[in-house]
Symmetry: C4
Subunit: 249 residues, 4 copies
């Protein structure tokens, strides 16, 4: 019981520091890539910071594993976290944790499932696009036959990929760059899917509401007609008509 309480407290207390650490990691990773003529000392500081933050995340993972009641199940449920820790290529993806934090901040959007999905996908797609642009630039810059050589080209490539336009004026040629591209393409399918689905459910909802309002109006009108008919029947005192004044449908 004491272990569970501590685990919960740790979870709550560590969320914001780890989110800030994820942002710092992205800065430490992307700044030297975007600025090719950086002072050597700063470049070194960035790579030290990246390793240090990686160590923080590794400690966090091990601590949470130690605190977990069922360790095998914890590993199975956090296999993505483990991959992000283990594979250098996936490390920048840690920044996607910011989206979850953002979603928790934006209370109004988070109250509806649709709003939350939109916040998550748009935020996630934005961060994914930036991260993939940096990763592709990092992988391609040193290749002589590559065609993505500065951050402007990398960002342009990321946008044409995520929207599935794909001109082909810029494209990755290395394995690492292509893996970043596959991530972007899947993000693009998610983006298009969520935008379309949110619009569709919004249309369906409004059409249903309009129809319900119309049905209500029709019911009220027919009730009114009944009232008027009953009144007329009573005034005319024709008993045969009085008997037949049931709702006519």
């Amino acid at each position: 019981m004491g272990r569970d309480a501590f685990a919960e407290q740790y979870e709550r207390g560590a969320e914001w520091p780890l989110t800030v650490a994820a942002v710092l990691f992205l800065v430490a990773y992307s700044w030297p890539v975007m600025e090719p003529f950086m002072a050597e000392g700063l470049r070194h500081a960035c790579s030290v910071a990246a390793v240090a933050i990686w160590a923080v995340f590794a400690c966090d993972f091990l601590l949470r594993l130690a605190l977990a009641r069922r360790r095998l199940r914890f590993l199975r449920e956090h296999v993505v976290d483990l991959l992000v820790l283990a594979l250098p290529l996936l490390r920048p993806l840690r920044v996607l944790r910011v989206v979850t934090a953002l979603g928790r901040l934006n209370r109004r959007a988070a109250s509806s499932l649709r709003g939350r999905a939109i916040v998550y996908v748009i935020g996630g797609v934005g961060l994914l696009g930036f991260t993939a642009a940096v990763a592709v630039l990092d992988a391609e810059r040193s290749q002589p036959s590559a065609n993505i050589k500065n951050f402007g080209d990398a960002a342009w490539w990321a946008v044409t990929t995520i929207t599935t336009v794909g001109y082909g004026d810029r494209f990755p040629t290395t394995g690492a760059g292509r893996i970043a591209g596959v991530g972007l393409m899947l993000g693009g399918i998610a983006l298009l899917g969520v935008v379309t689905a949110a619009l569709a459910s919004w249309f369906v909802e409004h059409v249903a509401r309009q129809e319900r309002d119309e049905a209500d109006l029709r019911e009220q009108v027919s009730a009114l007609v009944e009232e008027v008919r009953a009144l007329r029947a009573e005034l005319g005192r024709s008993p045969s008509e009085l008997e037949s004044n049931e709702p006519g449908r």
Copy 2:
């Protein structure tokens, strides 16, 4: 109260003149771009007209800001208008105001949410495509290494981008051209999303209506069966059957 009444009257009175001004701005902006061998005088007149209309929109913005009750809130709500005023690249977007005006004209489509969304997106995508084609031509024509050199190529590029086909035979190479391209791609996602969502909600609506009609029919048939059974029971005068003639199910 007097200020509010004046603000409302101004809003209503200025709508159509400003829409016309937006169209004139697009003409003054796009004509010299599309016609490279224009007489120098006419070209000069167009650029003067563009600046004059820009000044009209700036005055309109300042006047509405002065009339607003809560100025900070007005600025926050009209940040897009402010950007369109301030950034030369975004100026042609002012013509999107025509779509709102069109939507207000087309009363029949505007009565349903779906119809309004379709009118807005198709009108907006058309204007966006034309504007982006002009902007890209303006940005690329003077670049020696660019591949969009006449309006035909620019329009073809705009269509391949908005439909997310993206052959890559024509693509922007300058920063301004790429920004126009990003606008088109987002417009293309909106176009595909709205078309699909409108179709989906139309299908859902018709399937639901068909099912409701079927349920009504089934109910009427079962009521009829009840009637016939009651009649037969009454004719046979079997009291035990009379008792059990409640609607089954």
Copy 3:
């Protein structure tokens, strides 16, 4: 009245012959394009047949215009037919009339709105793809700088365009070819939209049905529980329990 009856009879009687004529037109138009080394006599026969069938459609249009009660309204409603007659580029689109005829044949699919939409879009997209491939080949073959020079390339280009993949290994370079491409791209958006929307409405329908079935089951179970409780109460003859045996919800 006599004119209206004749108009209706003509409409019904002319439908199938005109559909056959539309197919023959497509054959007479596409065969010489696909077979570059055709005998001169056959090529001449094809072009004569195409002109003759064009004349048949022109007569049909004029006859229906003459039979129409309100001619201006007829022209407004048949502006697409008029464009297809007048513009040589659009003539092959006449074959889309086959889709309507097919939709009428396929009774089972036609009974549901969704089935009809799918038949129309898939049939229309197939015919549009074939027609656009022929049109692009016709337009591009004689251009020295073009890259679509045989029917295989044209068909491949049509498929990559309609699915919005757009590699850019083949693309139209002439105005006529680009117009065919725009038609294909719009067809591709319609194809993707209808496929997605049909799937979405199918999912929505089944989820709703499943939920209704579940609610029915729950209702029956709670009625059963009521019955059992009432029985037990009666057996125990506890009047206080008997009073409280209302459905508990």
Copy 4:
């Protein structure tokens, strides 16, 4: 009756062996394609195994045809199986049988229509992508003018095609490769359609549930208000108020 019982027993007993055979066929087909410097003996063994498994599937088809009650109807319903048997190009598609088997294993997803559709499409798209990459590599490798020469390029091409990005840095140039490409494009449309439709129906379901819950709450609140009003009226013993305590809506 004996024949039918045997047919059913055969169907059940042969399912898993045939699924394993389909996987082995894919291995025997794709391994030599992916490994260009394979030992000659192993290459020969693979091609023998492929022919042997093909023979197993042919025997299975003939046996099921012999066991069928109505043979023409069986042929009509299994025309895809027949095509896969007869056309060498389509043979690797046999592995799609694994998806059906997987769908049967995954009981939880299979219980809902939507879950089943997602499992089928994602599994099918994955297998289709792998199969198409192998087929394209097989077709293109020997062409001097082709640009897909190793499995990495083929897999990258498959991903860019299925997501409809289509850069055009890699594309098939042979007939067989283009047929594989068309299969991938149709798979990509299905993928995008199913993802979007599943999201849309999920949103629609949750919005409807939320609205129903809200309506329930409103009903309960209004019932409570009624109760309180009745109580107050009874305490005050004002008969006029007691009469008017009908639900106010």
